[in-house]
């Protein structure tokens, strides 16, 4: 079939490919940039039913879809979009939930432009189908109904699993295990569950009500979430194994803030993005003094970094009334943040200082930040990550008057748990060494996944790791080999289908 013929052929929904290709990408309604710069309400408002159906019609329902492979957990994207096109959001959400536990979260925070939407076939000529927004639509539709479909829960297996950390990896793993019939307890160090989704990502990007709803959903499957429990302190991993847990899944994230080690970093007014965001999000200090925890914002804030964390810190400071300057050592193309966040940040009036790197922070007599000294950078040869390495331009230093600096240059792995568990093998960055296919660690019965294994990554990868962990723990507790032998796997499939 020639391309022309293919384009004229009617697809299942009654539209031809050509007709589908003609529909422009449906913009998502958003709060006006000026307005939202002053509040913490969600920026993107979500599709209406009509908008979602219109956008769903843009999907070509490709015979060999690329998007599924582009999704780290392999969601059957054409299938859920088809259900939306057919006006059946219930079927769409059911399809999504076969693969992802938290579509309302992923639809909002996944870097779609680097995943499913990057490889979308429509995107070759036009804008790709807005897969993330459609995912969000289906999830929000379900939440509005107030009745979430509950999956079947297998008969009790009489075994107990402990999960460390209630971020996306831990919560996903716990949910999967509960469905398989295990008794599951999540131990969370903070006073609220959700991990980065709760303490890191701001309300205006991911409303906390959604995160808590997802956590409650997992609780409704029988999972118990114990907050205020620091594994490595309140109880160790060995204590868990000795006290009734048959297996343990470690998903304690990559929560250690990294500083630049430049002069002046301990001055008053210099914060890690983790501190700034934890105060704002977890402690709700944007509602101070109604909430007790204070936050220092200042008139002019410098945020150092170019990832999602930097964008979140910058946009939070902006909403608290500051004039915000983002300092990033590479160029815009190399910024690791989601495209949408960079776009939103610029729209809201964050000023970007690209190819710029801080060299020192200068304080006043009272120990408060007064200025930040920066140096111009230029791009040199590509480094290990394939991005061109920024090199300082000698003699180009200059100072910007500033009263708050937020360091957002990355996070490392928190040593509380691992130091208390010397049996766990770590790599040179302090991440737990775990088998990629199974999540198995160097300790018998102990599995790990998410940021603690990979280093700071994404929500969807953490969820994927949680799923893998659950599957392996199930096999481990049944006495099966963690990796099914190829033939054995086939036999197992036959057995279950027979």
């Amino acid at each position: 079939m020639s391309d022309v013929e293919k384009n004229e052929e009617k697809t299942e929904g009654g539209l031809t490919r050509k007709e589908r290709m003609k529909i422009p990408r449906t913009p998502i309604p958003e709060q006006d940039a000026k307005e939202r710069a002053k509040n913490f309400d969600e920026v993107a408002l979500g599709y209406s039913a009509d908008q979602a159906q219109m956008e769903a019609q843009r999907c070509l329902q490709c015979k060999n879809p690329k998007c599924i492979a582009g999704c780290p957990v392999g969601i059957d994207i054409p299938a859920f979009i088809k259900a939306i096109e057919e006006g059946d959001p219930a079927a769409a959400i059911a399809k999504l939930k076969e693969t992802t536990s938290f579509p309302a979260v992923c639809g909002r925070v996944c870097p779609q432009e680097e995943q499913c939407e990057l490889v979308c076939i429509v995107g070759k000529k036009n804008d790709p189908v807005a897969i993330g927004r459609l995912e969000r639509y289906a999830a929000d539709w379900e939440a509005e109904q107030g009745t979430s479909s509950k999956p079947e829960i297998a008969a009790s297996k009489g075994k107990k699993v402990g999960v460390v950390g209630s971020g996306p990896a831990g919560v996903t793993c716990a949910g999967e295990l509960a469905k398989m019939g295990y008794e599951v307890v999540i131990y969370e160090a903070l006073h609220k569950p959700g991990g980065v989704l709760t303490y890191g990502i701001p309300e205006f990007r991911l409303p906390k009500a959604i995160v808590f709803r997802e956590c409650e959903y997992v609780e409704s499957l029988g999972v118990e979430i114990k907050t205020d429990y620091v594994i490595g302190k309140t109880m160790t991993v060995n204590d868990m194994l000795a006290n009734g847990h048959d297996a343990v899944f470690i998903a304690n994230g990559a929560g250690l803030p990294v500083f630049m080690n430049i002069p002046g970093e301990n001055l008053n007014g210099v914060f890690s993005a983790n501190e700034f965001l934890t105060r704002a999000n977890l402690m709700k200090s944007y509602r101070f003094p109604e909430f007790d925890t204070p936050i220092k914002v200042g008139k002019k804030v410098a945020v150092v970094g170019g990832g999602n964390v930097a964008m979140d810190a910058a946009r939070t400071a902006l909403r608290l009334g500051a004039d915000v300057h983002l300092i990033y050592r590479r160029s815009r193309e190399e910024m690791p943040a989601r495209a949408e966040e960079i776009h939103h940040a610029e729209e809201e009036g964050i000023q970007f200082h690209l190819l710029t790197n801080p060299t020192q922070i200068i304080g006043d007599n009272e120990g408060w930040v007064e200025e930040i000294e920066c140096i111009q950078m230029e791009l040199g040869e590509p480094d290990d990550s394939g991005r061109r390495r920024p090199v300082a331009v000698a003699g180009s230093e200059y100072r910007i008057p500033i009263d708050v600096v937020i360091m957002s240059i990355g996070t490392g792995s928190n040593p509380i748990l691992t130091q208390a568990t010397p049996e766990l093998e770590l790599n040179k960055w302090g991440n737990i060494v775990a088998d990629e296919e199974t999540g198995a660690t160097s300790m018998e019965g102990v599995f790990a996944g998410g940021d603690i294994v990979t280093g700071a990554a994404t929500v969807i990868l953490a969820m994927g790791a949680g799923k893998i962990g659950a599957r392996s723990i199930d096999r481990y507790l049944q006495g099966l080999p963690l990796k099914p032998e190829p033939e054995a796997a086939e036999a197992e499939v036959e057995e279950t289908t027979a």
Partner: protein
């Protein structure tokens, strides 16, 4: 929720509470601390474990009311509950038999030094304690300290009880006399700073327990960072105890003042609003 089983007021500004927290009591050791949060709008504040009972599953805290949260906690009595109580946090004290140890506690700093003195004594050390306060009404746990010390010296700034002098006077005299192998000093930053200044010329190792501002207390935010021996350390995970001769106390004290303005707003708002529930609506 964590229930308050006992409450005792020591003065208008200082009080003791025994809190039911079995998991914390099970695993805590001398020198560690907890973080608590009173209610949904509350702040997380660190308090040192002043005593614990593994069998009863309780933790004892001794608090000086200095601002919003510690004043509000003061209004909580027996039978009330605290929303969150997390611990034990920080590294335990390193207890060894070294010989003669001075335990100098200033103000409410006496309470956190108590379990350390007890452990030091159990390890076979000779323990000389200095129990210091501004004035007699602020002196606390003298009796408890006597139980675990070979000798107790009481000092007040105004002479209302014991010797009229600063905690550093007897400390200096004993260092001069010699035979001191280790000093523990816990109290306000300024007191710890001067204790360290006093012992330094004698080369007597001095351990302090730092009270930097904290948020999570688990190494996740860096709010608690201090400079020790020229290196940045997180008090909540690397401490709270450090070699006092290496600590940059001026930086610690400067960082403690970081939120003075907001702390006043919070306190005024509390007096205006939380004291009067009608204001909340």
């Amino acid at each position: 929720m964590y229930k308050i089983l006992e409450k005792e007021d020591y003065s208008d500004d200082t009080y003791m509470q025994v809190i039911e927290a079995p998991a914390v009591a099970q695993s805590c050791q001398a020198g560690q601390f907890v973080i608590l949060r009173l209610h949904e709008e509350g702040e997380r504040i660190p308090l040192t474990i002043a005593d614990f009972d593994r069998e009863k599953g309780t933790i004892t805290i001794v608090v000086q009311a200095v601002g919003k949260t510690t004043r509000e906690l003061q209004t909580y009595g027996k039978g009330d509950s605290i929303a969150n109580f997390i611990g034990p946090l920080g590294e335990p004290s390193e207890i060894e038999k070294v010989g003669t140890v001075i335990c100098a506690g200033g103000g409410v700093g006496v309470a956190p030094i108590f379990p350390i003195a007890r452990e030091l004594k159990n390890a076979g050390n000779k323990v000389i304690s200095i129990v210091a306060a501004r004035t007699e009404s602020l002196l606390l746990w003298e009796d408890k300290m006597r139980e675990v010390s070979d000798e107790v010296i009481v000092t007040t700034d105004d002479g209302t009880c014991g010797r009229q002098c600063l905690v550093t006077d007897p400390l200096k005299e004993m260092c001069e006399a010699g035979g001191i192998d280790l000093v523990y000093a816990i109290g306000p930053a300024i007191m710890m700073k001067f204790c360290c200044k006093t012992t330094e010329p004698f080369g007597v190792k001095t351990i302090v327990s730092l009270n930097s501002i904290m948020v999570d207390g688990t190494g996740m935010c860096g709010a608690c960072r201090v400079s020790v021996g020229g290196e940045t350390k997180f008090v909540c995970v690397d401490g709270p105890e450090f070699d006092g001769h290496e600590v940059d106390f001026d930086l610690l004290m400067s960082r403690q003042r970081q939120y003075l303005e907001q702390e006043k707003i919070a306190y005024d708002y509390y007096l205006e609003c939380r004291g009067d529930k009608a204001c909340l609506t």
